[in-house]
Each structure stands twice: as C-alpha cells, then as structure tokens.
C-alpha cells in the first residue's frame, strides 16, 4: 500500500508544476504514451544514424548521442559526421552504440531521451526513470517520410520540417522529368553484393535512397516482393541475378574502407561472372553506387545528396 500512497503524494505535488510548464503528450512507435516538456531543452539521442541526424537537421536541442568506435579507438556519429560534420566536440557521447551506460546518460541531465526500437526497447524502463523516453521505429512498415514527420512533431519542429519538405517536393517536381525520363516510371532494384560468400542482399526499403526513388516515380522489380513483409532486406542466391534486369540498379559502398562504385561493380562481377555483360543497367550507365553513410539516414540533407548524385548522372549522360 505504501508505494501507492507515496506515488499519489508525488503526483499531487507535481500537479502545480505541470500546470505551469507546457507539456506535450504523444504515443510513440512502441505504443507508449509519453508526456514531456513541449519544447525539450536537453535531448539525448540513443541512435546515431536515424535519431541523431534527424534531431540535428531540425535544429532540436540535442545535447548528446550514442557513437561508434573506430579502429583507432576514437568515437564518431555515424552519418552525422558524413552529412553535417557533427562530432563529439559539438555534442556529448551518451554511450557506445548498443552498450548503454545509464549513469553516463543520466549525467547529461536530459529532459527527453529518444531511442530506436531495435536497440533501446529493452532498456526503456530504466531510461524512463532518467527522463521521458520516446521509442522511434524506422522500420515499422510506414514510409520513411511519415516517420520523419512524426519525429518532427515530437521535438516541436513541425514548421521546420514542413519548410524543408516543401523545398524537397519542389526539387523532386523539377527533377522528375529529367531523371525518370519520358516513360515516367523506370524500374529499379536496390541491392548489396556480398563478395565474401557470394550472396546478394535485396532491399525493400533503404532509408533516404528508396524514399527519393519512390518520390521520383521509380518502381521496384517484382523480385523485391520476395523480401519478407515487414523486413527491410533479405539474402538471396546470386542465381536470381537473371531477375534483376531493372532499368536502374542501386547499391551502396563504404568510402572509409576505400570502396567505390568500381569496387562494387567488381564485386558483382565476381559473384556472378558475366553479369555486368548482360545487365542492361550496367551497359546504360545506370548502375550506381552511393556512399552508404550518406544515403541511408532519412534526412533531407541525405535525400538532397542522393538527388544531386542522380541529377549529376543524368546530366553527364546528356
């Protein structure tokens, strides 16, 4: 009985304070109802290349983020570094990716914590004792743009989002005829060759990359339907390369490892010798590889980057 009484007392004591400070109440992607200050002042992000980059792009009050360890033992914000030059001089290191240290997070005194479903859900109860905690799920089956809009609302940056979206839409409309061509709806496949074991990964969605392609009117090949519902990707035998003859083939590489488009093409050729000969997209210069950490995160900067690449490709051909 006693805990309930103390909880009740605490609630009563909190009431006047809550009335003074404007609160926002939302339902997050894991179904939790969360109340927190309408304009959060100290946001801590627990996922770098989804949550952190979105919060940073929208100009939300971000104080810390998780980061990853590089080979030399230093830490970086994946995609934040590539797209915005964001480093841990600008914000604090809240934890190492996937290895949350509650004390380190609490010491940042956040008034809002945002994590992604896959890495954060099992820590949610603990995090909620530090500050209101929102779970974001980039792979919940809705489009990346809808999820980003949710997120903008959560951090009180709806207007910034709308302005960026209007600018992006205008750009898409201007570029669509040029990139998508006369037919209007070219087919595409987003894939990743694995030269270690010779399999091919096909993507149902791939962050900013697939969002831009969809907005431009590209349509995925039927074979992509083999990726299980609700999954982002699946591994396939290289024998399906015969069913991959799309107008465009997109893949990604990691520049840090010294990879580039030629390397990805070589990997594809290694997996399926002769494939580059009969895939029409390769001959037509429509095999394209982007830096993974630039085009996977779902932000307008990332979509702009990918649009720039596409426009450059089309112009170079004309």
């Amino acid at each position: 009985m006693k805990p309930y009484l103390t909880a009740l007392v605490a609630m009563l004591a909190a009431l006047p304070a809550a009335a003074q400070e404007a609160l926002r109440t939302i339902t997050d992607h894991a179904g939790y109802e969360v109340s927190y200050p309408a304009e959060p002042q100290r946001i801590v992000s627990l996922h770098d290349w989804t949550v952190t980059v979105m919060a940073y792009e929208l100009g939300a009050n971000l104080v810390g983020s998780t980061g990853r360890m590089s080979g030399d033992g230093s830490y970086f914000v994946r995609s934040g570094r590539e797209l915005y030059g964001l480093t841990f001089d600008d914000i604090a290191l809240a934890s190492v990716h996937g290895q949350l240290d509650m004390e380190r997070i609490a010491s940042l005194h956040p008034d809002l914590i945002i994590g992604n479903l896959g890495d954060t859900l099992e820590y949610r109860d603990q995090l909620a004792t530090i500050a209101p905690t929102i779970i974001f799920d980039p792979m919940n089956g809705r489009t990346a743009m809808e999820n980003y809009r949710d997120f903008a609302g959560w951090v009180n940056r709806q207007e910034t989002f709308d302005a960026l979206l209007a600018r992006y839409r205008a750009r898409i409309d201007a570029l669509r005829p040029e990139i998508a061509g006369a037919g209007g709806h070219p087919s595409y496949v987003a894939m990743l060759p694995n030269p270690e074991n010779g399999s091919i990964r096909l993507f149902r969605t791939y962050g900013a990359q697939s969002q831009v392609l969809e907005d431009l009117g590209f349509r995925p090949l039927p074979v992509v339907g083999e990726v299980p519902e609700g999954r982002q990707d699946a591994n396939f035998s290289p024998e399906i390369i015969g069913q991959m003859n799309a107008d465009w083939i997109f893949t990604t590489h990691i520049s840090d490892r010294g990879e580039d488009e030629a390397a990805m093409l070589a990997a594809l050729e290694q997996i399926a010798p002769g494939a580059t000969g009969f895939l029409d997209a390769v001959a037509a210069g429509r095999f394209h590889s982007s830096d993974r950490f630039h085009v996977y995160p779902m932000t307008f900067r990332a979509m702009d980057y990918f649009l720039d690449e596409l426009a450059g490709l089309v112009q170079a051909r004309n």
Binding site: T6, D125, Q126, A234, N235
Partner: protein, 349 residues
C-alpha cells in the same frame, strides 16, 4: 560423529551437524560478498562518496540527492540481480553435477537458452508487426526455457543418472539453436549479432522489476533445494548405493533436474544464459568445504553470487565507455583463469 564436524544446537529441538571448514568458510564468503557489494556500489561512471552509498541504502527514494538516486536506481538493482542470478546459476549447476555425477555439468547444457530464443521468436512471429512488451517477452522466455528443460528430461528419461542426460541436452540445444539461426539468418544479419550478444548473457538491461522477479524465484526455490539436500548424499555414491539406502533415485533425480531448470530459467529470461557459473562455483565450493551436499550447495551459491557480481562490475566499469557483458567476462576471463588456476592447484598438490 565424523571428524571435522561440529553440532549446532538450537534449544533441544534442533541439532545440526556442520562441518568445521564450512563454519569458517561460509562467514568468510558472506563477508567477501558484502564487501564486494559495497565496492560495486561505489564503482561507476559518476564519482561516488561513501555518504552517497549510505544515503542510497538507507533513505527512501524521494529524500535522496542526485548521486544517491543514481546508485539506488541503476547500480543497486544490477548488484542485487547479479548476486541472486549468480547464486541461482550456481545452485542449478551444482544440482546437475550431483545428478550427473560430473563436475562439468552446467545449466547451459540443458538447452534452456535456445528454448527461450525459440519461444521469443515464435511469439514475435505470432504478434506480427505488433511490439511485444518486455514483461511479456520475459514470460515467453521463461516458458520457453522451462519447456526445453522438460523436453530434455522427457527425452533423456532413460539416462537420468550418470551423464547421458547432459548429452541429450547438448543435442537438443544444438537442434533448437539451428532453428533460431535459420530464422534469423534468412532475415537480417544484424539481428544475428544482436542475438549473439544476448546469447552470452548480460545484466545491462536489468531493472528493479527483474531483480524482484529473481528474488521471488530465489525465495521459492532455495528452501526446496535445501529441503531436498538430505537425499543428495546417497546420490553422490551412485545408483545402487542410493537405492540400498532407500532413496528412490529415478524420482528424486527427475525432481533435481526440474529444480535445476527452475533455478536457471528466470536467470535466462532476465539476463540471458550466463554460462559456467555453476561449474566454477561448485568447483570452488567443493575445494573449500568438502563433500557434504547442503554445505557445498550453500558455499557454491555464495561463490556464484561473488563471481557474477565481479564479472558484471568489471565489465561495466573497467573499459568505459565500452561495456563488456558479464557473460563474456565470465566465459573468456573467468574460465581461462579458472582452468589455469585449478590446473596449477592440482599440480601443486
């Protein structure tokens, strides 16, 4: 009276023969455990003064200052869970060792963790895109691990005594593990590395509710184990001898294995499978207090708590900001040190 024993008397009703070594060792272990708890309370990212710990232990949550609240909120549940989980895995391991008469038996070999994974994956498949709440997940894991243990006991009922049951467990766990691999690998590779992390055991996501769950099971099972302790000595002698002494071996052996599974299942559900504690703790306990089952059981539980507490505390504080899970600390550092030290001890003798 056997040499090396003392009889504890409580009034006229209760008299308990206790080994003298146990009378020395047990309080020492308890003392070491308490000291370790204090050290673990003091260790963490944010600096800690003795006064903060005192506050955290004695005051109600509302009256604490920030540092104390941090200790009470994050370090205390983890420490409590580590001690409870460690002692439960130790008890589980020791019971299995008695049953199989083999010093290397470990609850990890009963297929518990793979049963838990299969149950969680099945639950996920049934739930579709809906998110499963953590308490439901824990319940699924618990049911899955108990189910796997029952399956192993059922399949291996012909070879409950001796070590055969362990082989059945090994085979079952590999079979279930392959199913998990197939389901996960057809999906995303990243799921697989997350599963590998969990499958080594970690206390990072343990909170007060998990500690309470462990505490509840602990309170339920420990008296049972101590009660059964009487029939353990004959078992150690072997089937024929036990039967001659009037202990129905098959029934009691099955009871022990189920009890061992019940000890390990809540640990697997909250922290993942932490391997080798049962093995190390029982070995240490036997070399400290001798052979009397109830005494070894208690000493093993104390040692198990100590081992897991040290592994978890070292993993979360030594390499910051990198957090090494307790399971990995035990499997790599713990086992290497243990095997080498035990070998050295054997050679010295």
């Amino acid at each position: 009276m056997t040499p090396g024993t003392t009889v504890l008397r409580l009034g006229r009703v209760l008299s308990l023969p206790v080994g003298r070594r146990f009378l020395i060792v047990a309080p020492l272990l308890l003392l070491a455990l308490l000291a370790s708890c204090w050290l673990a309370l003091a260790a963490g990212y944010s600096g800690t003064r003795a006064a903060d710990i005192w506050q955290a232990v004695t005051l109600p949550r509302e009256a604490m200052e920030d540092p104390a609240r941090m200790i009470a909120g994050f370090r205390m549940p983890r420490i409590v869970a580590a001690v409870l989980a460690g002692s439960m895995m130790a008890a589980s391991g020791y019971l299995l060792q008695v049953v199989s008469r083999n010093g290397l038996a470990d609850p990890g070999l009963l297929g518990l963790s793979d049963g838990a994974s299969v149950a969680v994956l099945l639950g996920g498949a049934l739930a579709g895109s809906a998110v499963i709440a953590p308490p439901v997940l824990a319940a699924l894991a618990l049911a899955g691990s108990l189910g796997a243990a029952l399956l192993v006991v059922g399949l291996g009922r012909r070879m409950l005594t001796g070590g055969g049951i362990i082989l059945v467990g090994l085979a079952t766990s590999i079979f279930l593990g392959s199913i998990v691999e197939i389901i996960l690998v057809t999906g995303s590779a990243m799921n697989f590395s997350a599963l590998m992390q969990w499958s080594r055991g970690t206390l990072a996501a343990v909170d007060a509710a998990d500690a309470r769950l462990l505490g509840l099971w602990w309170l339920l099972l420990v008296p049972l184990a101590l009660g059964l302790g009487r029939s353990m000595s004959p078992l150690l002698l072997g089937d024929a001898e036990a039967r001659a002494l009037g202990v129905p071996t098959r029934a009691s052996v099955a009871a022990y294995i189920i009890l061992a599974a019940a000890f390990a299942a809540p640990v697997v559900a909250t922290c993942g499978p932490v391997a080798f504690i049962g093995l190390m703790a029982s070995y240490v306990a036997r070399s400290l207090v001798g052979d009397r089952p109830t005494e070894v059981l208690l000493a093993a539980m104390l040692s198990g708590g100590l081992i897991l507490l040290w592994a978890d505390t070292a993993g979360r504080t030594l390499f910051g900001p990198v957090q090494v899970s307790a399971g990995i600390m035990i499997s790599v550092v713990g086992v290497l040190v243990f095997v080498l030290a035990a070998r050295a001890g054997r050679l010295a003798r």
